[in-house]
Each structure stands twice: as C-alpha cells, then as structure tokens.
C-alpha cells in the first residue's frame, strides 16, 4: 500500500476536484450559513407558533380551541375549502384537457390568463368582488332589491377563495398532460372506448398523483387565504370569520394564546401539506415531474 505512485496521485486528484467544487472550509461555511438562514427565517417562526400556543399550558390551549367563535371559524374554513377546492378541481381538469390535448389558436394567451390570479394582490382579488357586489357596486342595487347577500357572507368568501386558488390544479395538470401526450387516449378510442371512458379509465389514472399534488396546494391556500377573504368577509364573529381572520381578531385583542392556538392548527395543516407533498415528490416524482418546482 506504500506505493509512491498512489500517494503522488492523491494530491493531484484533490486539486482536480477542487476545480469543480469548492474547498472543504468553503463548503462547510456555506452549508452553515444556509442552515442558519433557513433556521432563522423558516424554522423559528414555526417553532414560535407552537411555543406561544402552549405558553399557558395544555389546558389553556384546548380551552381556547373549544371557544364557540373559534369552532365556528374552523367550520367555516372547512366549508369554504370544501366548496372552492372541488370547483377548481373540475376547472383544472377541464382546462388541462382542452389545453393539453388540442392545438388551437390563442392557447398561450389562455394559459397566461389562467395564471393571472397569481400576479394580482390578494387584496385586489377581494376588492374586485366588492366593486361588483358591494352596496355601491355594479350589481349592488339589483342584489339588494332581490334580497341576495353575497358580500359579507359565505358566497363572497367562497368567490374570493376560488379567485386566489384558481390556477393551482390547472397549472399542475397542463404541463403533466402535455408531457404524457395523446397516445394512450387515442389507443383507448381506437379500441372502442368513448370519450368519457377514455378520460375516466385512461387519463385520470395517468394524472392522479399530479392531480392530488395540485389539490393539496390548492387546499392549503384555500384554508389559509387571508387578504382576499379579509376584504369580502365583513369580519362578523361566529358568522363570516374564517380561521386566518379569527387569528387576526384574537391577536388584535391581545389574546395571544387564543390567536396562536388557532394559528397552530393552520401551521399543522401546513406541515401535513409539506410532508404529503414531499412524499408525493419522492414516490411519484416521475409522474408529477412536469410539475416539480411548485
């Protein structure tokens, strides 16, 4: 083993690899800086939520979650997500089918329009509905005459949520279905399947993990949306307060334990979302590959 040839090769090898990576001290420094940055900016906020929620003990935590207004906020958030996520799911599938399976004029423009809500401030997403349905709004007088309440009620909250979560499912499915092409569906059709069967038995199984991925992100945003919902909700306790809005109210009332207890539920939702998302990427990475990165 004391071969001089090997010994002289080692330093040479070292210097060669040093040219395509950084020296060890630099690597260690950069890793530490990165972990410190992620720790301070991402981990600490997460830890403080749970620390503050349990600041006065487990009893106080569960007591504040048992509050009637808190429970009605949880129910409303679940209701809003249960309506808006399926709506955007159906839209996502439909838009992805039209855009990925066909070539038509204006396709790129349509895809841009679908992404539009991402570049609009959540507050503006709420504002547009106030301008439409509010007392001074375009349809305000007509709605009032017919006794229909949209603003400061559940329909308005659902609409604002649908607006901000609009692109999630579609933008996961479009690249995925484009990558998969039309071959499988054409085969199914040539074997005698009708369009519906081709969709149900061929397309849907092909995209199911990508679809789940999109629904996961859509749901996280639907349950956590604050700005848009805040503008249209009217903040009526026990009636039009979603969980994020309830967090704000409790926090502004200096009820830290209450605010962070509700926040801890939302943080738990975020953690579950992240774990499921990571698992999906690990297990079905290839099947949602087109969507990696969002």
């Amino acid at each position: 083993m004391a071969d001089p040839e090997i010994k002289s090769y080692e330093p040479h090898h070292e210097s060669r690899s040093a040219a395509v990576t950084e020296s060890r001290p630099v690597r260690i420094t950069l890793t530490i800086v990165t972990l410190a940055f992620l720790g301070v900016f991402l981990l600490l906020p997460l830890i403080i939520v749970f620390k503050e929620a349990f600041a006065k003990g487990v009893g106080a935590y569960f007591q504040s979650l048992g509050d009637a207004d808190t429970r009605s906020a949880i129910r409303l958030t679940l209701l809003v997500a249960a309506i808006s996520v399926p709506l955007n799911l159906v839209f996502g599938l439909s838009a992805a089918w039209a855009i990925a399976k066909f070539e038509f004029k204006g396709k790129a423009f349509l895809t841009t329009l679908i992404d539009l809500p991402f570049s609009v401030s959540p507050v503006i997403s709420g504002l547009v509905y106030v301008l439409l349905f509010g007392a001074q709004g375009l349809l305000g007088a007509w709605l009032k005459a017919h006794g229909i309440q949209i603003l400061f009620a559940v329909p308005g909250i659902v609409l604002a949520t649908v607006f901000v979560t609009f692109p999630f499912v579609a933008r996961e499915l479009i690249p995925l279905m484009q990558e998969q092409g039309n071959g499988d569906e054409e085969a199914a059709l040539s074997l005698g399947a009708n369009g519906w069967q081709a969709f149900w038995y061929v397309t849907l199984p092909n995209v199911k993990w990508g679809l789940l991925y999109g629904v996961l992100l859509c749901n996280a945003r639907a349950m956590g949306e604050f700005g848009a919902v805040s503008v249209v909700s009217g903040h009526i306790r026990g009636l039009t307060n979603t969980m994020p809005l309830h967090v704000e109210i409790l926090y502004n009332e200096y009820n830290a334990v209450g605010a962070f207890a509700v926040a801890s539920l939302l943080a738990g939702l975020a953690l579950v979302t992240l774990v499921l998302k990571t698992l999906l990427e690990m297990r079905y990475g290839a099947e949602i590959a087109a969507t990696r990165g969002h």
Binding site: A18, A19, V20, E22, L30, T31, T34, F37, L38, F41, L42, L44, P45, L46, I48, V49, F91, S94, A95, A98, F104, K105, L110, I114, F118, S119, S121, P122, V123, I124, L127, Y129, V130, L131, G134, Q136, L138, F163, F166, N182, L189, G195, A220, G224, F226, G227, S230, V231, P244, L245, V247, E248, A259, A263, L266, A270, L271, L274, K277, G293
Partner: protein, 283 residues
C-alpha cells in the same frame, strides 16, 4: 410531403380524434370569464369611469404615493435579498450532501404552505422588542418590528421559495463537464462560477426575482402585523386599499388597485424583455 388541402386556410384548431374540445374549452372559458375576467374588468371599468382628473388627483395623493413607494421599495429589497440567499440555498441543496438536507429542502416550501396571517403573527412575536430575535437585535440598535425593516423581513420569508424553486431545477441540470472543461483551460473556481455558471443561471435568477417581487408587492397578511402600519412610514399599498374600502371610499381604493396592477404588469413586461435578452445573450 403531402399537405391536406384543408390546411391551406386559417383554422381555429388542428383536427384531432380526441373528443370533448368544445365542452372542456367552453366550460373553462365560461368559468374563467365569470370568476376572473368579469370581476377584473369591473375594476378596470370603475377606474376608467373615474375620469382622468379625478384619477390623477387620487393617484397623486401623497399618502398613496408613499404607500406605493413603500410596497415596491420593500418588495424590491426583499427580492434582492432572496436572490442572494435563495441562490445560495439552492446551491447548497443541489451541490452539497449533509445530514438533514432532505428536511431543509422540504422546509423551503413552508412559506407556500403556511397561511400568511400565521407567518405575520409569528414573525412579529419573534422580532418584537421582547421576542427571541428582537431581544438580540435591540442592543445593536436594530429595530425590526413595527418598522419598514419588518416589512422586508416578512417579504423575505414570503419570497424565498420562489427564487429557490426557480433556480434549483436549472442548477441540477448543469453539466459538470462544462466546469471541468473550464478548469482544464485554466480557470479558477471564482472565474468558473462568475463566467461559466452564473450566466447560465441568470434567466432563472431573474425569473425567481420577478416572482418574489410580484408576490411581495401584493403581499398583505404577513406584512400588516409586523409593519406597524404608520401612514407615510410603514403603510403598504394593499393596506391603504383596505383602509379606503373601510371608509367606503371606493374611488380611492380602485385607483390604488389600478395603479398597482398597471405597475406590476409593466414590471413583469420589463423583466420578460430582460429575460429574452439574457437568453439571447447567453443562450
């Protein structure tokens, strides 16, 4: 090559054996129109019907201008910070192997998943004078909570995944042989990074910057808790829209929203042009 005679004319779509085009496109367009286009054009119509003089008076209101400056300024600084740290995070996650790398990678998406209000109260508690981080920064004379610096901190949190997730996939695709070739030709590590790697990453970094910036300009939930919301000091434009709405001052709210939208789109347009240019320049 035989060309079908029908292809000579203009056609809306290429023929296909796949059914359901009319149904899915029709439904998608109807839904898009109802949920997005009609409400948004309502905003445009409203601001147009204000008339130029009224609109100009509302747009040049000093409080509005200051709020817009604060929103765009802090979003710019935060996006710039994220370009540096986001690229670093992506680099370390792609190139280095260390225990906990997968967890760190998954954590990067936390700002996407954590509701903004939760992020807002958590950051405020951390950076408040008596908070874990506020306590440490106070003796150094750095005040974060209830100052514009607090807005930047919140926007760095919100924008980080946009930069990391845009740059990371491009970094993974870099061919190590390019670096080796540069090294054989006598380039040192610094030259390789600045002359070989960064130009290839530039379009992705610009995209990440623009996404983080656009998100930061419109951000509301995570900012309002930590900002302190003093008019002319730490009041962001989205908050001013909310304040005007609560005063039932619809014209003012509409004008601010229209300016924000126009500025954001102009900015995205410029960034798109820069990107096209950098793609051409660096291939």
């Amino acid at each position: 090559m035989t060309t079908a005679p029908a292809q000579a004319g203009w056609r809306f779509r290429q023929p296909s054996v796949i059914p359901g085009f009319g149904l899915t496109l029709g439904f998608s367009l109807a839904y898009l129109t109802l949920i997005i286009l009609i409400p948004l054009s309502g905003l445009v119509w409203r601001s147009a019907s204000l008339g130029w003089t009224d609109f100009w008076a509302l747009a040049t209101d000093p409080r509005t201008i200051k709020a817009l400056q604060i929103s765009f300024g802090t979003a710019f600084i935060a996006a710039a910070v994220n370009v540096v740290f986001g690229t670093l995070v992506a680099w370390v996650l792609v190139r280095y192997r260390f225990p906990g790398r997968r967890v760190a990678d998954a954590m990067v998406d936390l700002p996407f998943a954590l509701p903004t209000a939760v992020a807002g109260i958590a950051l405020t508690t951390l950076y408040a004078p008596k908070g874990w981080l506020g306590q440490l920064l106070m003796p150094l004379g750095i005040k974060v909570a209830y100052t514009p610096l607090g807005i930047v901190v919140a926007l760095v949190f919100i924008g980080l995944p946009f930069v990391v997730r845009t740059v990371q996939p491009i970094m993974e695709e870099i061919d190590k042989e390019v670096e080796e070739a540069a090294a054989t030709l006598g380039a040192n590590r610094f030259q390789i990074i600045t002359r070989v790697l960064l130009p290839g990453l530039a379009p992705a970094i610009v995209t990440g910057f623009s996404l983080a910036f656009a998100r930061g300009v419109g951000e509301y939930g995570s900012v309002i808790f930590i900002a302190g919301n003093l008019p002319y000091k730490s009041e962001i434009a989205p908050l001013l829209i909310v304040i005007r709405l609560e005063e039932y001052n619809y014209p003012a709210a509409t004008a601010i929203a229209a300016i924000m939208l126009a500025l954001s789109f102009a900015m995205l347009l410029v960034i798109n042009l820069v990107q096209t240019w950098s793609r051409k320049r660096y291939g």
